[in-house]
Symmetry: C2
Subunit: 409 residues, 2 copies
Amino acid sequence: MIRINENYLKLKASYLFSDIAKRVTAYTTANPDKPIIRLGIGDVTEPLAPSVLKAFHAGVDEMAARATFKGYGPEQGYAFLREAIATHDYIARGCPISADEIFVSDGSKCDCGNIQEIFATEGLKLAIPDPVYPVYVDTNVMAGRTGPNLEGRYSGVTYLDSTPLNGYVPAIPTGASDLIYLCFPNNPTGAVATRAQLEAWVAYAKANKAIILFDSAYEAYIRDPQIPHSIYEIPGADEVAIEFRSFSKTAGFTGTRCAYTVVPKKLVAYDLLGNSHPVHALWNRRHTTKFNGVSYPVQKAAAAIYTEEGKAEVKAMTDFYLENAALIRKAVVDLGFTCIGGDNAPYIWVNTGTDSWQFFDKLLNEAQVVCTPGAGFGKCGEGHVRISAFNSRANVETALARIAKALGK
Amino acid sequence: MIRINENYLKLKASYLFSDIAKRVTAYTTANPDKPIIRLGIGDVTEPLAPSVLKAFHAGVDEMAARATFKGYGPEQGYAFLREAIATHDYIARGCPISADEIFVSDGSKCDCGNIQEIFATEGLKLAIPDPVYPVYVDTNVMAGRTGPNLEGRYSGVTYLDSTPLNGYVPAIPTGASDLIYLCFPNNPTGAVATRAQLEAWVAYAKANKAIILFDSAYEAYIRDPQIPHSIYEIPGADEVAIEFRSFSKTAGFTGTRCAYTVVPKKLVAYDLLGNSHPVHALWNRRHTTKFNGVSYPVQKAAAAIYTEEGKAEVKAMTDFYLENAALIRKAVVDLGFTCIGGDNAPYIWVNTGTDSWQFFDKLLNEAQVVCTPGAGFGKCGEGHVRISAFNSRANVETALARIAKALGK
């Protein structure tokens, strides 16, 4: 008799986005004359950059002739892309990362979700932020590393609370951890970690023989020159950290699909006898066994981001979203709310001081604006909403005018 | 202390393709004046079809304007592609499969590798063919469903021997199985299963409350109208089977990346108490949690295969490879070998009667032709080599002339 992975039965169904959709549909059905503006979803809206489009088309053209046709490529990605990534994203910042430590993939969601497979299941001590991108938690539940969900939290997980009290950057745990998820600039809060804070995490990981899984999908939004873009800007981090990066928010690739994961060759994990094993070899085995590489024209498109032209174009794109973010942040502060994010991230995390679904309903009903209730991201998200800067300038300005009118004192 | 998944230590390193590469490099270094022809690798060589290229470019163009730009799409694939697949690949053949049972992905390797996650680890009885596509085995080793590898086989697996005695279509096991991997037309042998043989497997699965994982990545090469293209052509198979399909060999997508998996809504698996659970919901949860959809322009390109023009173009492509296959098969038979495949598959599986690496060396040294030693695919592959039809006509003809000269009596 074929049996299921019963860990799936522990998963708490996430109704966040379907609940939002239901409430929005109910409102628009009752009020067909009141168009709504969506500042809820974390998805880009602007077209791909011209040099990216040009390279994308050129890559497709290569598939049209036998002499230039590409069949299976290297599972880890083509050298031209891995080398561009290493040079521009790491070596240029003084990070000791080389091209053969880069694994190109079709998305950070996959990589963040799959990475846990190469680590032990039994007895692994997890540390996961709250609020959080749900993939970190759910994939560990599926793998059997947690107990049941009790009142919104899985037993067996150390939750790293991100609250107004710690400026939304969680404190180092007092006990030991083995596998630590961190995300800066943060989704959903938009908070960033300082160099000193990252240094403390790296020191903690070293002391505990732990590994940090560092999600820096939003690093392209950092404008403060003091804030590290990569965990590898911290000396010694290549001995304790894996980093996830994506072109989704950097260059508008959410529908085009390309990302990468950095697994330094210095990184080790241990067997039960305490012998060390290189994590790079484990991940390489996993990656080549279960993945067949990213579409060739997509890799060509991604590489164009690293040309001089491409760099300027994608910088203009993140600048545009950051200008939206600054407008949102100012409007929210002008209304008397405290918030974080929006300066080095495309999200503004608003401390509403009230139930996050109530605040959501108020914005929807009185301003026809959709945000995301913080409670959907974890217990510590309660009392907050996330407002996204991904939209046109006109929509952002209209939304803010309506919010000011609805909430203004 | 961070610990590794120690199941990875059980994995037997596969040196098949690296060993081939080493021997080829050694030969070409010693004989720079003797160009070799590769009929070893299972990768397409011909360009994408014109209508596929046109749709691919059009998809890229949509990413150039805000009004047509696509961000995150549905993880399961766009409706236009899922509906085209259901209509043309299933409903047209009388299979009871609907669009919402289709999950579009970036490759069958990923899907075949990931599917096991939704099933139990402990006590699951696996049945896996030999010779075999290594992903079926390796992903189960990684998940901890096997014991160690002893003399080329993992304990805890029922191997389904495919040999000259059973016409390379394995017999139904005498004992029970829970999860059964089947692949027809087969990689590496090119053997196909008759309707009666598939009916027997479906009946066996029903009797055992087992699930069949049916890999039909090569179905587009079937020309015999009596051979089923899909397991769902067998009545009741939608209660016991998951099917994997790929555009890789159908339409030359090995470097473009698009595939799909069919999980019927009728399919159930059980918990320890014997309660049934729909597998569709489990896979949907896995797919949406760890995957973010296939690149939009790639999905547009894939959908073009189902237009009248596209169908004719990709049929011409598989016809071309099958003409190569027929030439290879005839040449091999003329030399006095018995073989299978090549009529409804792009692979010819030659019974060499000798050690497969010795035969590989003979072809390399005396005919400058690269094949794949059967021993690399499992114990039952010994005494065989795989010759692939994926190459230009000129290369195939030259290779066959050289083989005839080297091996002719």
